[in-house]
């Protein structure tokens, strides 16, 4: 096995393009090293992108934020302005594993690993995040929702990688939130994950809504009819009931060691409602 | 003679006798006497037993004295963690 540590994006792309066998990108490594150790992954080479300075930046762009692929969850959590804008996304990435894991794990890595239960992905999808994919032909922007294609599979070509994630400018009177259910208080993989983005009108009614679900389907689900159940409402109980029911209805989970399908369907609705209320309060709506 | 209480499975091996009497002054004499007089108890005695004498557990100490009026109870062999 070969370990490569390029210092520019171009160099990294060249390395990737030159590989004939299995080649893995190393960002936080919190998934890759586990796979290496278990023998699940036996790559011929590893390209460590953490020596590329550009990928360590959190920078303002068009009123939003561009987050480099090597930025750890802990660094995001320490960035006050980012936390103020997208608390749900930051919370989601900081729910992944332990303090130690958060010191390494990245948004881009969590996305590319394409686990159906990845915590940051529903939050990013709710926030309309866009991944910048780089490859031999330059860069292309892909909505985060289109990156995972199934458990462990993503839409990247073998000579591409994600250089950054873009979180768009957050409109006034809007906010996001992410909740997940786990059996313990920490350290578990999400049994259900739910990211919600809400924008309120001046009168406090819901002007825009997005809800994305994790761990209840082979990939992240964007539930548009659930969002529609909120738009135009005052986020009253009836609207939240409809929203919660639509989320549960959209969930198509399996039963496994982490929970039964029936449990996941029910808890999807519970979390969606709770997350929507958090987002509403953050967006300036009255507390319930 | 010492009265010995047997636990259920031992009792059922010898026709549901829950108490037997054995001439014994020590633990070893007790165990030898039981095996001799009640051959049906042998498999379990070979697998191991613990013995409570006046409320204290003994496993192996042959020469533990037993008094005529001691309370003697056979128990399944104890193991710990």
């Amino acid at each position: 096995m070969q370990y490569l540590s390029p210092t520019t994006i171009e160099e990294a792309v060249r390395y990737l393009a030159a590989q004939t066998g299995d080649c893995r990108i190393l960002a936080g490594g919190t998934d890759l090293l586990v796979q290496l150790r278990s023998g699940l992954a036996e790559p011929e080479s590893i390209v460590d992108i953490k020596r590329i300075d550009d990928l360590h930046q959190i920078s303002r762009e068009d009123g939003g934020w561009r987050i480099g692929a090597a930025v750890s969850g802990a660094e995001m959590g320490e960035h006050a302005a980012l936390v103020a804008d997208w608390p749900g996304v930051v919370e989601a990435v900081n729910l992944i594993g332990s303090t130690q894991i958060q010191g390494r794990a990245t948004l881009a890595g969590n996305l590319c690993n394409a686990s159906p239960s990845a915590d940051s992905v529903p939050a990013m999808v709710a926030a309309r995040a866009v991944a910048r994919v780089v490859g031999p032909d330059g860069a292309r922007d892909v909505p985060v929702i289109d990156i995972p294609t199934g458990p462990g599979k993503n839409a990247l070509a073998r000579d591409e990688f994600i250089a950054s994630i873009f979180l768009p400018a957050r409109p006034e009177r809007s906010a996001d939130a992410y909740l997940r259910f786990i059996p313990r208080t920490e350290m578990d993989i999400a049994v259900v994950g739910c990211g919600v983005f809400l924008k309120l009108g001046k009168d406090g009614t819901c002007a825009d809504a997005r809800v994305a679900l994790g761990a209840v389907a082979p990939k992240v689900l964007l539930v548009e009819d659930a969002a529609r159940a909120l738009i135009g409402t005052s986020l009253d109980d009836a609207a939240l009931d409809a929203f919660s029911a639509a989320c549960s209805a959209a969930a198509k989970p399996i039963s496994d060691k982490r929970g039964t399908a029936e449990f996941r369907v029910h808890v999807t609705g519970v979390l969606a409602r709770r997350a929507a209320l958090i987002a509403k309060n953050r967006a300036g709506g009255a507390a319930q | 003679m010492v009265k010995v209480r047997l636990w259920g499975s031992l009792a059922s091996a010898i026709g549901d006798q829950t108490e037997v009497e054995i001439e014994a002054g020590t633990l070893r004499e007790l165990l030898d006497g039981l095996a001799e007089r009640y051959p049906a108890l042998r498999p379990q005695l070979d697998r191991g037993v613990s013995v409570a004498i006046d409320g204290i557990m003994y496993n192996d100490s042959w020469f533990t004295p037993i008094k005529e009026d001691s309370e003697v109870v056979l128990l399944a062999r104890l193991e710990g963690g």
Binding site: M1, S5, L26, G29, L33, V34, S98, R104, T185 | -
Partner: protein, 159 residues
Amino acid sequence: MSKIHVTTTINGDPAEFLCEAGDSLLDVLRDRLSLTGSKEGCGTGDCGACSVTVDGRLVCSCLVLGAEVEGRSVETIEGMAEGETLHPLQRKFIEHAALQCGICTPGILVAARSLLERNPDPTEEEVRYWLAGNLCRCTGYDKIIRAVLAAAAEMREAS
């Protein structure tokens, strides 16, 4: 395949080692540098017994490649005491009987020091959540949490 040569700093001292591309930092510390204070409880980042800091950031050394620490600064449990003088956390762990078997202790001490560097006055809940990635099976965590809070109080008074 030739090995990778790595130059780094460990507990303030310069260090060099050769490793395979797939060797974890934990493998390197334990097997190549004889720093066996960092323990492997799981190898998957779930127990925290291998906790170290790299450039001041708390990580599981089982989830870091040895090759990654080229030019970095690594701190392990072996660097926590200064000569004969124990770190207040180490002292409080002994005073509060915060260890039974002791296998999780190095990782917990490294993690707790990292917490107190960022937050000198944590609440009980903050300590519990910060240390959620450090499994202890002996103590039920009670005496560990008390020891960390006591060390924090002492360090605040001293500073």
